[in-house]
């Protein structure tokens, strides 16, 4: 199996992951451990770095120590979006220093549009204002533009997840009306299980921007700093599922029940400066996210189909496949 670093290791963490992943009564949380075992995008050196951070493998402390790892090794410390990413610099976040750089998407021209979904709360925190300020600024492009600039300078930012506009553009047909529940549909397609309206509706903001906004790598000539997400690039999250190493982008678990569509692609990039004109839609999610298990099963089948690896996740997810 190519590069499944956590599965191969025989240390405490590896044993812990196997036990946690095998607990079929544990609910969705078991998928977190399985994702670690599946992830082929984590290099052995990065794994070592991580194991040094996570000394007490048990679920609750793991969550804390994983967050500490993100703060130390993944968060972007610079005070402004980088003009260029030096992937050989030891202070460069591990995501871009040792991650799977995307040749396909990092090397395209200007015709690739990316998509980011966020919330007014997230934007407010990054921009050091309040949610009410963000909402008021949505009606004032000049103000929104400035606040987006401030947000891009937020310290300790984790890499940003983005989708590809082309994967969801059918939800926003030019010149005609998007479906009424597009926010819920978008949430499901992009696997944003954490955007679940348990009680009140949840507002989301959708930004669309060109890949040219993403800074280039210093050494990989012409390539932009886009990588395939791994389990070590974000908080512990069950609705994530690592893509096989030969995928050139992540694949998002589509939460839409019974969806026949190919999973959307996802990538990571360093902080970029968004602009008010990039905001293309604003809407409210009104439903809770669908259950994860059937979505994960379908997703894994898709991955097998796409990569031709019929045994992908056979060990970890035999109980749902």
């Amino acid at each position: 199996v190519p590069g499944a670093a956590f599965r191969e290791a025989g240390d405490d963490l590896g044993a812990f992951l196997k036990v946690e992943g095998a607990r079929s009564s544990a609910g969705d949380i078991r998928y977190i451990a399985r994702n670690f075992l599946l992830d082929e995008g984590v290099s052995h050196s990065r794994r070592e770095e991580y194991v040094d951070s996570v000394k007490t493998p048990a679920t609750a402390p793991w969550n804390v120590e994983h967050d500490s790892y993100l703060e130390r090794a993944v968060a972007w410390r610079a005070a402004a979006p980088p003009a260029r990413v030096d992937e050989s610099d030891p202070s460069c976040p591990a995501t871009f220093r040792t991650g799977l750089l995307s040749d396909t998407y990092g090397g395209v021209g200007e015709d690739l549009d990316l998509l980011r979904v966020t919330t007014p709360y997230r934007l407010a925190k990054d921009a050091r204002v309040r949610v009410a300020d963000v909402l008021a600024m949505l009606a004032r492009p000049s103000a929104l533009d400035r606040i987006l600039d401030t947000a891009s300078r937020a310290p300790m930012r984790l890499p940003d997840f983005v989708g590809l506009w082309g994967d969801v553009m059918d939800l926003f047909p030019p010149g005609s009306t998007p479906p009424g529940n597009w926010p819920d549909q978008l949430r499901n397609r992009l696997g944003l299980q954490h955007y679940s309206a348990r009680g009140q509706a949840l507002e989301i903001l959708v930004f669309r921007f060109s890949v040219t906004r993403v800074p280039r790598l210093r050494h990989a000539t012409g390539r932009r700093a886009l990588t395939t997400p791994t389990v070590l690039d974000a908080r512990l999250f069950a609705a994530f599922c690592p893509a096989p190493v030969d995928s050139d982008a992540g694949r998002i678990v589509d939460l839409t029940p019974g969806s026949p569509d190919r999973p959307c692609r996802e990538l990571l990039h360093p902080p970029v400066r968004l602009r008010a004109g990039d905001l293309v839609a604003r809407g409210s999610i009104t439903s809770a996210g669908p259950p994860l298990t059937p979505a994960r099963r379908d997703h894994l089948l898709w991955l097998r189909l796409e990569t031709g690896r019929d045994d992908y996740a056979a060990e970890t997810d035999a109980d749902i496949l």
Partner: protein, 731 residues
């Protein structure tokens, strides 16, 4: 904490953390903030965002807010323990929570105490790449202030003393913005007190540029962003322009080019204190409390200080037009000080906005009756009673009116069913007794009055009622006996001193349909239409209206009402022309601006305008929004904003729930039309957003016209809303 909060969430979706919080709030909070509480699908969120969302979901549960406030205060008060990295993260998360949930005042004070006591510790904790820990703490302190204790601290920050990071200068500015008003200071409009901190910050930035530690371009960006932030919170651009422009010096003037316009210097300075827009950092509760005090004071002093009462009631209406009590207080003061004719337009406007408020219906009828417009009062009260069949004041007022105008049978038709259901309503019962007496049903009338009188009623109307019945029935001797007893029982009531034979019933006044204003006629016509008997002659109606507006009655009121009706009749261009003529001769008034705005909106809807043309047409309403936040456009926009920003506040939720209840009641009654005035319902918000997206994404939310677009969409949605509500699809 024993009650479950599960009802506030979709079935089965109560966050598991709340269970832990119920049993041990401080420990659960500590685990959440530090990240050791795994949060299922919300684990990807920062703890503060998850907590903020749950707080929004639980906005109707004050017990949760109180428990969270206490737990956070306790958390901040406790000594640092355990792993310092996770403690640092937890501190930042807790601060972020307080930045948003400013009503957690106990926790806010605890944070301030802790910060002031242990500033050095916090600075030490913040090293190693987490310098924003202090920033986030200061942000929380800036937004949760209940006194002016930190003013000096904010001053130091905006001055960028020593090596103060630039970002903290901006936080200092927000700290100034978050200071509660000084003694005697009014809030709710432009904040001239923020001009000095803003310019101080700009000068501090300029010094760093001059010292070559900051680029001119970056300084300008920071300065512009800070200015823009203040303008968003206090959207009085001309006032900012004038206030900043008056104090700029050469060094920093170019940084403010886009904010300081020469035209603003020439503009009407009275706009500065125009209609306040609810600022984002003042809570709903504060404004509601202030308006409540103003109303109370206005009503208390209307008898001895009329001008003060007028001013106070006007201010209450300005700062809290979302509350029907502001309107009723205003109309009561106007009625007392200037008479019912002055109160009437306000009463009509109030009814337009609060059709679910029983008091608005009743009060309007009282003014109409006082002006002798009995048929209109009857129409208003009848519709009011249809909406509020349990209303004693409405039933009694309509019964008394019908009785006075000689329609005793109609009065009995109204009152009998009511007193059957509410026999304890003595006032209605007494009126019905009078009705029986006038109808010659003496026995029935006696049945109403005699038991009360024999039980020594302290209501003189019971006594006079019985005396009159006995007199009308020819039992004069008995009547005189009771009159003698009544005279002793109520020595101060003149009626009992008069001859028993005096005072025959007055003839009813003539019907007064001809005296109805156009607006009133419109209401009548709607009533007729409901009964399927409407007949309209629009051309004739128009002529009548124009004639009336120009030649009869108070010109302003007539023009406004004619404007309303012309608009309703599909002739908004005529309405605009008439209203503009009136403005040019009589000057501006809120009523004229509102009527004109409505007509322009209708005109724009009629034409197939491009978005740019639509915006251009709406320009006068943008003025209206600044100068006279009087109409639905503002309400619609504010509702949308409020539902975002203040959804967690219990007042908003309560008001929303009350509105929904009224709507449901309306829909249950087949003869009543539903009118979705529930501007706080999330369904509105979702629909508005959806429609906004359909109609051109965010372009349509630009500038002040967003509210107009939303308002138009709200109108379009009314039918949908009623249908959804009746089908049980909402809530």
């Amino acid at each position: 904490l024993t009650d479950s909060w599960a009802t506030e969430f979709l079935p089965g979706l109560e966050p598991p953390w709340l269970d832990a919080f119920r049993s041990d709030p401080v420990e659960a909070l500590n685990r959440l903030l530090r990240g050791s509480f795994y949060r299922d699908e919300e684990n990807l969120l920062e703890p503060s965002e998850a907590l903020y969302r749950w707080a929004v979901d639980l906005s109707g549960r004050p017990d949760f807010q109180q428990a969270l406030d206490a737990a956070l205060a306790s958390w901040f008060g406790a000594e640092a323990s355990g792993d310092m990295l996770s403690y640092r993260r937890a501190w930042a998360q807790a601060s972020d929570v307080l930045t948003e949930l400013t009503e957690l005042s106990t926790a806010s004070k605890a944070l301030r105490t802790r910060y002031l006591d242990r500033q050095t510790f916090l600075e030490a904790l913040a090293i190693d790449g987490a310098s924003d820990l202090v920033d986030r703490t200061l942000m929380a302190l800036a937004h949760g202030q209940t006194d002016r204790m930190l003013e000096a601290q904010w001053r130091q920050l905006v001055e960028l003393v020593g090596t103060t990071p630039i970002v903290r200068g901006r936080i200092g500015l927000l700290g100034f913005a978050g200071l509660p008003p000084a003694d005697g200071e009014e809030r709710g409009g432009f904040r001239p007190d923020l001009v000095d901190p803003l310019l101080t910050f700009a000068h501090a930035l300029a010094r760093r540029v001059d010292a070559e530690v900051l680029s001119e371009r970056r300084a300008r960006e920071v300065c512009s962003e800070a200015t823009e932030l203040l303008l968003v919170r206090y959207p009085f651009r001309p006032a900012w322009s004038r206030a900043i422009g008056a104090r700029l010096d050469v060094r920093i003037a170019p940084w403010f080019d886009e904010f300081v316009k020469e035209d603003d210097r020439l503009a009407d300075a009275s706009l500065d204190s125009g209609k306040p827009v609810r600022p984002s950092d003042v809570s709903w509760g504060e404004i509601a409390d202030r308006a409540r005090e103003l109303r109370k004071e206005a009503l208390a002093c209307r008898g001895n200080d009329a001008e003060r009462a007028l001013a106070l009631s006007a201010t209450a209406l300005e700062i809290e037009p979302w509350d029907a009590y502001s309107w009723t207080a205003r109309m009561l003061v106007l009625n007392d000080v200037r008479g019912p004719a002055a109160a009437l337009p306000v009463a009509w406007a109030a009814l337009d906005r609060f059709p679910h408020n029983e008091v608005c219906w009743h009060q309007l009828g009282l003014f109409l009756r006082a002006l002798g417009r009995h048929s209109v009062a009857e129409e208003v009260w009848t519709e009011g009673l249809e909406r509020f069949p349990d209303s004693g004041p409405l039933a009694n007022s309509i019964g008394a009116l019908l009785l006075d105008i000689g329609r005793a049978i109609d009065a009995a038709d109204v009152l009998e069913p009511y007193v059957t259901r509410y026999p304890e309503n003595r006032q209605a019962m007494v009126t019905l007794g009078d009705v029986y007496r006038l109808l010659g049903l003496h026995e029935r009338a006696e049945e109403v009055f005699r038991p009360a009188v024999e039980a020594d009623s302290d209501n003189p109307y019971d006594w006079s009622g019985l005396i009159r019945v006995l007199r009308d029935a020819g039992r004069t001797g008995e009547a005189k006996q009771w009159q003698a007893r009544a005279r002793a029982r109520f020595p101060g009531v003149p009626y009992f001193k008069k001859s028993i034979l005096s005072g025959p019933p007055a003839p009813p006044p003539p019907d007064d349909v001809s005296g109805a204003t156009p607006r009133e006629r419109a209401l009548l016509r709607r009533g007729l239409r409901r009964r399927g008997a409407a007949g309209q002659d629009v051309a004739y109606e128009r002529e009548q209206l124009l004639d009336q507006a120009r030649n009869h009655g108070p010109p302003l009121q007539g023009a406004v009402e004619a404007g309303f009706l012309l608009t309703d009749l599909g002739a908004p261009a005529n309405a605009i022309r008439l209203l503009e003529e009136t403005r040019s001769t009589l000057g501006d008034s809120l009523e004229l601006l509102y009527a004109s705005g409505r007509a322009r909106r209708r005109e724009a809807e009629q034409g197939n305008f491009t978005r740019a043309a639509f915006r251009e047409r709406m320009e006068p309403i943008a003025t209206l929004r600044t100068r006279a936040d009087f109409g639905r456009p503002l309400l619609a926009l504010t509702a949308v904003r409020l539902s975002f920003a203040m959804n967690h506040h219990p007042d908003v939720r309560q008001q929303r729930d009350r509105s929904i209840e009224h709507l449901r009641e309306e829909l249950r009654a087949p003869t009543r039309g539903g009118r979705p005035d529930d501007q706080f319902h999330p369904w509105w918000r979702q629909q508005v957003q959806r429609r906004l997206d359909e109609t051109g994404h965010l372009e349509s939310t630009e500038h002040m016209n967003a509210g107009i677009v939303e308002d138009r969409i709200l109108d379009d949605l009314e039918e949908d809303y009623v249908r959804h509500l009746s089908a049980g699809m909402v809530v």
